[in-house]
Symmetry: C2
Subunit: 300 residues, 2 copies
């Protein structure tokens, strides 16, 4: 067993997390959250998305938020972009890194954006071309990698194909999302092994949800395979859009605790991270959805 010595944590709370919260979070609160996450030492903070405010009102202030960030050297602030129009909005405020998304499930893609997986990726051709012209870094998401809320099991080959296409289009990193949190450790390893045959391991990120409590076990499983990039959401922000009241994104605090305990370096400070999680949880008037945060706060 060979675990990585260092792991890069990609903090997705301000975007993937808050996008799935029912409460509307004002721009100044998002900015304070992003600042606290920077102070905790996170080097990648997904800060917002340029999607239609009609569909995702939680992200309506993304341009304002992005422009107001006092960017820290060495920290990147990717913004999700669904199409050319989103990219134009991103370019207008000087975004340097974007994220695009695809799914490994035909049913999910059809339900979400009413096209096939193939079409959904082809449509990004223009976005990638523009991104290249403007020297933007592009991160690619693949969702439903360990199961789909509509069709259930997903073949690892399918995940590998979609990941490969995004990588060959120019995405520098492919984030593999267990969108419904249904995966278990052996399955997670099999999926990673299949993808790593087509995309270099160091270009893969694990983006796991904790809906069935499996996220850390699955992360430990794929760390053993060589994955060294982990997406997580401070305080477990986001919940699960497919089961109200259930957990969604794995909490950054819980991931950090496991990595710290295994002597894996991240550059992230636990107490400052817990403070960031407490700040946003207080704003949302609820307990942090992180067991580490709860235990540390209870022991305080």
């Amino acid at each position: 067993m060979q675990l990585p010595q260092q792991v890069k944590i990609v903090e997705v709370g301000p975007r993937d997390g808050l996008q799935n919260e029912s409460a509307s979070v004002p721009a100044e609160i998002k900015l304070e959250l992003i600042q606290k996450l920077e102070q905790a030492g996170l080097s990648v903070i997904e800060a917002g998305s340029f999607v239609s405010p009609k569909w995702v009102p939680q992200m309506a202030s993304s341009a304002e938020v992005y422009q107001s960030i006092e960017q820290k050297p060495g920290v990147s602030y990717p913004m999700l972009v669904p199409n050319l129009r989103g990219l134009e909005s991103a370019l207008a405020v000087g975004v340097e890194e974007i994220a695009i998304f695809a799914a490994a499930s035909e049913s999910f893609t059809r339900k979400n954006i009413n096209c096939s997986i193939d079409e959904s990726i082809t449509r990004y051709g223009d976005v990638m071309e523009q991104a290249r012209q403007h020297n933007l870094r592009v991160r690619g998401y693949v969702s439903c990698v360990l199961g789909c809320p509509y069709e259930g099991a997903i073949a690892v080959e399918r995940v590998a194909e979609v990941a490969q296409r995004l990588y060959e289009m120019g995405c520098y990193e492919i984030s593999l999302g267990d969108t419904v949190g249904v995966g278990t450790p052996v399955q997670a390893q099999q999926m990673i092994d299949a993808v790593a045959e087509r995309v270099p391991m160091e270009r893969l990120a694990a983006h796991f949800h904790d809906t069935y409590g499996q996220a850390l076990a699955n992360l430990f499983a794929v760390l053993q395979r060589g994955v060294s990039v982990i997406d997580s959401s401070v305080s477990g922000l986001g919940g699960c859009p497919y089961a109200k009241g259930a957990s969604g994104n794995v909490a950054t605090e819980d991931v950090l605790y496991m990595l710290n305990g295994m002597g894996i370096e991240t550059g992230v400070d636990m107490s400052k991270l817990v403070e960031a999680g407490r700040f946003i949880s207080d704003f949302l008037q609820r307990q942090p959805a992180s067991k580490v945060a709860r235990a540390l706060i209870a022991a305080d």
Copy 2:
């Protein structure tokens, strides 16, 4: 990596779980819970303990509960016994299996029972002798195997010594408890490896708490080392006595989900298990502390 094909789940909810709940649960509710757990297919159900009701009022009805169980063939119902007096109470109601407990931490032992680890084990000599005479099976607990609430880190050698002593005294199985839930996967593997040098792997059980969300990752880690017995508590009953509001025993539902996902046989039925957890959670008027239970109930 070699995972076991079968795992025995030792359900500790009715004893270890309910003992740490503030609500007093009447004997008839405990009996109904035990019955539902049997129906779910659990083959070992820790049913109560013969401790002083002055110290643990939650277990005061243990004799009544034990006598009223309609025992199912093939199912065992161990009862915790702290001393000879407890053993006499157990024998009086015909108990066939008992559990005794020690800790791998001097400070914990001192605070808990005001003696050294060595004395605490020596004191069980009479209990073990009597147990032998009455053909009782004895299970041994070691607590604080991955850390102590009072002294912090615990040397794996110390855990191994205590486990070995209990095994050599006649315990047929040694349950290794991460009482404060502070362990992480590599540490869990190192601890198991150290203990397995002195006690056969097939005699070891992992009894992990989820206070810092690490339990399933730690369980996956030790399953990879050959552990094939797991203690857990339906619905995560019990909470953490060291941090009010934090999680305690790992939830049986979450363990079962992970094992099912890896094709490991347990003989336990998920929907009946969730039903048992729902029953006791409803009685306690709270949500199940199991992510699997919450997700399944939310998706219902």
